[in-house]
């Protein structure tokens, strides 16, 4: 019993809370990957499957929120401990939104899978890859308490915004005489928007990582 730090159960609970957030990050990145895949391959069954799995992400959000509130009520956390709980709460909320956007992409993929005319994806795969990398890197920064990586994620958001702007120009102008294609591109415009929002949430997560480790707010110029 000697030489053990005090409050072991509490310290264990804080680690468990962070593990739940990491687990949620894994579910969410898988969802983006598979949603994009279902879009590219026009795989309707896969799209349906992803839409169903969003419930698991939502359940985990509630679990993280409840656990955070219980720890606040029972342990009176302060300093870094308090930031662990506050950022878990916030990051879970960003991850939940990312999960919702993966759901939205899967829903679009399902609709586009029904199209007879082949879908021209243009910048979509590139947007998806950039957004996915951002989420993965943000969660890696969280897992490893890596502020440098977190700051890199914040900067990468500019790249994604730029890609979205180009995507927007291309998707909004091309198909005035082709009703089917115009419809497809309108759908893809939504997907581009979802991916751009995923990047914003990844940026939020990265900002929370910086706050968690330094207690400083990142003031990013948007």
């Amino acid at each position: 019993m000697e030489n053990k730090s005090t409050r072991q159960e509490y310290i264990h609970d804080l680690a468990e809370l962070q593990n739940k957030v990491i687990q949620m990050g894994e579910l969410v990145t898988t969802a983006i990957e598979r949603a994009t895949h279902s879009l590219i391959t026009q795989d309707r069954d896969l799209a349906r499957q992803i839409m169903k799995e969003d419930d698991d992400i939502d359940d985990l959000t509630i679990e993280i929120e409840d656990f955070s509130l219980l720890l606040i009520a029972k342990q009176q956390p302060i300093a870094h401990d308090l930031r662990v709980i506050a950022t878990s709460f916030k990051i879970a909320s960003d991850l939940e939104r990312i999960g919702d956007h993966a759901f939205d992409i899967a829903k679009t993929a399902k609709a586009l899978a029904a199209e007879k005319q082949p879908v021209e994806l243009l910048y979509t795969p590139q947007l998806a890859e950039t957004a996915l990398v951002m989420v993965k890197q943000a969660m890696k920064a969280y897992r490893e308490a890596d502020i440098v990586l977190a700051e890199a994620v914040c900067r990468q958001d500019d790249e994604l915004d730029e890609l979205f702007a180009r995507s927007f120009t291309e998707l909004s102008g091309a198909a005035v005489n082709d009703i089917v294609k115009a419809r497809q591109q309108a759908q893809l415009l939504f997907v581009a928007r979802y991916l751009e929002r995923i990047g914003d949430h990844a940026t939020n997560i990265a900002e929370w990582v910086v706050y968690l480790e330094t207690a400083e707010r990142v003031r990013k110029l948007r």
């Binding site: 019993m1 000697e2 030489n3 053990k4 005090t6 409050r7 072991q8 159960e9 509490y10 509130l69 219980l70 009520a73 029972k74 342990q75 009176q76």
Partner: protein, 251 residues
């Protein structure tokens, strides 16, 4: 989890004044039960009914039932010395005897007739280990207990209680005279101790109740207003009075 102790419809009077009203409460084995409530609400009085410490007070009258492993604690044939060995107690202020650290811990065993030095040595070491004090005092067992810090003295008192191998440990505000670090040490110790013992603790520190206990009872004016899982009491208490008390809105 089985109930280690059960209290049913307990009423307690100091002369004509009633201090506890119809208190019923179950103490699950290997758990920590916290008793909270404002001063004079009856929580310490209640605690003392569990090992009949109130017998020492003149004019006390008790009715209702208190059982330990199903046996009535207030039955006429109860061996009170044995009861208090099985249900030990740690008080608010550390009260080491004016003797060495070793003799403090060995005291209970000697009273119960143990004289073998090897046995006593072992009990002293195990009890001090159990109270997370061994490493700090193992090189000065023969020195006076009065030389220990407040937090160490309180852990010594816990070791002294553990030395007679109790089943239930009652604690009456065990940290109220201690600094925050010593308090954390005692709280951590309580979490360890519940693996082997059952603990009932009175505390004025609601946060302490929230941190260390499995179940919490809120006492007010001699009555149990609410008794539930600590997680429930501190996140969604059923009674408004409980919520008002734990959020500091009382009165």
């Amino acid at each position: 989890m089985d109930d280690k102790m059960q209290v049913e419809r307990l009423n307690l009077f100091y002369g004509a004044a009633q201090a506890l009203y119809d208190v019923s409460l179950r103490v699950p084995e290997h758990s920590v039960v916290a008793l909270i409530g404002p001063s004079g609400c009856g929580k310490s009085t209640f605690l003392k009914t569990l090992n009949r410490m109130n017998d020492l007070v003149d004019g006390v009258h008790i009715d209702g039932r208190v059982t330990l492993d199903g046996q009535d604690v207030y039955a006429p044939d109860t061996d009170i010395v044995l009861l208090r060995k099985r249900v030990g107690m740690v008080f608010q202020r550390p009260n080491p005897f004016p003797m060495s650290i070793y003799d403090n811990v060995a005291y209970g065993c000697r009273v119960h007739g143990v004289t073998d030095k090897k046995v006593l040595d072992e009990v002293v070491e195990q009890s001090l280990q159990g109270a997370a004090l061994w490493d700090e005092v193992k090189d000065r067992l023969k020195t006076s207990a009065g030389g220990l810090s407040g937090g160490q003295q309180q852990r010594l008192c816990i070791a002294r209680t553990l030395a007679v191998a109790p089943e239930v440990v009652l604690m009456d505000e065990p940290c109220s005279a201690l600094d925050p670090i010593s308090t954390m040490k005692i709280e951590e110790l309580v979490s360890e101790l519940k693996q082997r013992y059952t603990i009932v603790m009175v505390t004025h520190n609601m946060q302490q109740a929230a941190r260390v206990s499995d179940r919490t009872a809120f006492f007010l004016n001699g009555k149990v207003i609410e008794y539930d899982d600590t997680n429930v009491i501190f996140t969604k208490p059923a009674q408004k009075k409980t919520e008002d008390y734990i959020t500091g809105r009382f009165g």
